[in-house]
Amino acid sequence: MNPRPDPNQLTAPDDGIARGGVLLDVKNVSLSFGGVKAITDISLDVLKGEIRAIIGPNGAGKTSMLNVINGFYTPQEGAIIFRGRERRSMKPHEAVGQGIARTFQNVALFKGMSTLDNIMAGRSVMMKRNIGWQMLWHGPALREEIEHREKVEEIIDFLEIQHIRRTPVGKLPYGLQKRVELGRALAMEPTLLLLDEPMAGMNLEEKEDMSRFIIDVNQQRGTTIALIEHDMGVVMDLSDRVVVLDYGKKIADGPPDEVKNNQDVIDAYLGVPH
């Protein structure tokens, strides 16, 4: 329906931070559930425009880290500075308002809704017409709906999911569901996109597609991406910098090549008695 979107038009909202400046700064964060320490004194930063990978063995605290960043958990200690503003605790929907979007490890789509509605739901925050206009439908509410529909169609074209526009997402195969979930996150036009294992359970071809989408999002839209992934090949190829967690502690941080040869990282993955 639409011509392929012009990449130059699709840019993340400008927030005064230059490319390469610190977008997110996590300082000395600790998180525990009762006696279980999920994250111990971790600091990490995400620079604007980069692809940042968080890796580590199972139970290392990677997902907890993402949950802290987008406000799902409140850390007991430490500070999170996003776009130059510090915050201690915030509700997830407030994090969205600041420009943080995410996808989940196990797909968290709205199963009863179509692909189109799922992605449109990602733009709920941006739609402002109140219930009075919604009741009447014709007029402002419809204009707003169409305006956002155009944006959503650009994303649908970008992710090549035109053929499943009307399909309830519960009926889609897993790989496509992951793609729709990415679409929903993109619809929120985030400054920072958090991807929790975007390639889990995919075959090689689907992984290649997904990698291509992640790079395109990063380069065409200028979206900063922080991702968790277990496929080392993907991580090393995609990311600019990698942080490695193990047992809730940071054991390495740096460019992929450096991390790959770090003895602590090798130990963590191969297993050395602690």
Binding site: N70, F72, K91, P92, H93, V96, G97, A101, R102, F104, A108, L109, F110, K111, G112, M113, D117, M120, A121, G122, S124, V125, M127, R129, I131, Q134, M135, L136, W137, A141, L142, E144, E145, I146, R149, E150, E153, R184, M188
Partner: protein, 358 residues
């Protein structure tokens, strides 16, 4: 054949967002509306109006209200009967305190009272879900019915403890009370139901409907796309209780003519819930199909054997009703758990493809 959609292309998003993207749907609705507005009034008897058409419409509206809450926003409620009661009593008080108030205004305002009460009893939904929430709304059911009985101010200290609908005129025509004719009442209810259904369709297909469905399908993910759970849930309670309250006001003012507190007790809540479930949760059409099945079928069962001269005493008819309706409910839930609306969707799909199997 009749439902061929081939050749109906959409060239703009506006056209794609039309109420009826498929032309035949609009035609079908037109036919139904002609029946509702012209043919039924010309042919129906007083009995048909009072026993069939008016109650079907009112129950559809009540189920529509419940469906917004349970089917769209995913919050189970067992307090529908009581919320209908709030609407009815609020309308009664408004009419008796301000006798010159237009009945349409009174009914529209009484919805706000039940909406406020609905939001109040919806507060637990911020903490609890599913069956636990259903029990919390059950508290509303018992408390409100108790209040209708004990708070004599609500029924103007009538010795009978019941509310009696006075004769109410609108533009010189009596629309409610003992002197009103069934046909005026039918038109009145039909117009209200049409308007509210139109609004409900628009709300549920737009931004707010998507928010509700997102909360229903996965509340955590809904929160992470920026939906404020508290606001959407309470808004669902507000809108739902508003519609239910209007249905309650119509129930007493345009149909029953009088009501006691126990009319709004739990059997009414269950009746409306059955209509919503059998019709299809998360569907607007389903409420009407469900109401036709639950409300109209007993009347048909009761009158058809008599028409054929088969003598049945009223107790027998009553028992037959319960048995047949019960069996039908079970059969429908096994054959099509998503309700009659889904049943229709499948039939429609077949019509579109006909004569090809796939």
């Amino acid at each position: 054949m009749f439902y061929r959609t081939a050749g109906q292309f959409k060239t703009s998003y506006q056209a794609d967002h039309a109420l009826f993207p498929v032309r035949q749907d609009a035609f079908l609705l037109g036919v139904i509306l002609i029946f509702a507005f012209v043919i039924f009034p010309l042919t129906a008897s007083e009995f048909t109006f009072r026993a069939l058409l008016i109650p079907v419409l009112i129950y559809s509206l009540a189920a529509l209200g419940l469906n917004i809450l349970t089917g769209y926003a995913g919050q189970l409620s067992l307090g529908t009967g009581a919320f209908m009661g709030v609407g009815a009593y609020a309308c009664y008080k408004l009419i008796t305190i301000f006798p010159e108030m237009n009945i349409v205004v009174a009914i529209a305002m009484s919805g706000f009272f039940s909406a406020a009460i609905g939001v109040l009893f919806g507060l637990p939904s911020l903490r609890i879900k599913g069956f636990y929430l259903a029990i919390a709304t059950l508290a509303a059911q018992f408390f409100l019915v108790w209040l209708f009985q004990k708070w004599a101010w609500l029924y103007n200290y009538n010795a009978s403890g019941a509310i009696q609908v006075p004769n109410i005129e609108m533009f010189g025509i009596t629309v409610a009370g003992p002197r009103a004719t069934a046909i005026t009442q039918y038109y009145f209810v039909l117009c209200v139901v049409c308007v509210i259904t139109f609004f409900a369709i628009n709300i549920t297909r737009g931004r707010i409907g998507r928010m509700w469905k997102a909360v229903r399908d996965m509340d955590i993910a809904a929160e992470l796309v920026g939906i404020n759970l508290m606001r959407s849930k309470l808004m669902a309670f507000f809108v739902s209780s508003y519609v239910v309250g209007i249905a309650g006001a119509l129930f007493v003012f345009l149909w029953r003519g009088a009501a006691e507190a126990n009319l709004f007790d739990i059997p009414l809540s269950f009746r409306v819930l059955f209509i919503a479930i059998i019709g299809g949760l998360g569907s607007i059409l389903g409420n009407f199909l469900g109401a036709i099945l639950i409300v109209a079928l007993p009347v048909i069962i009761g009158s058809v054997p008599q028409a054929f001269g088969i003598p049945l005493d009223s107790a027998m008819v009553e028992h037959l009703n319960i048995m047949i309706i019960g069996a039908l409910i079970i059969a429908f839930l096994i054959i099509e758990p998503h309700g009659l609306a889904r049943f229709w969707a499948m039939i429609r799909e077949k019509f579109i493809l006909w004569p090809f199997p796939h």
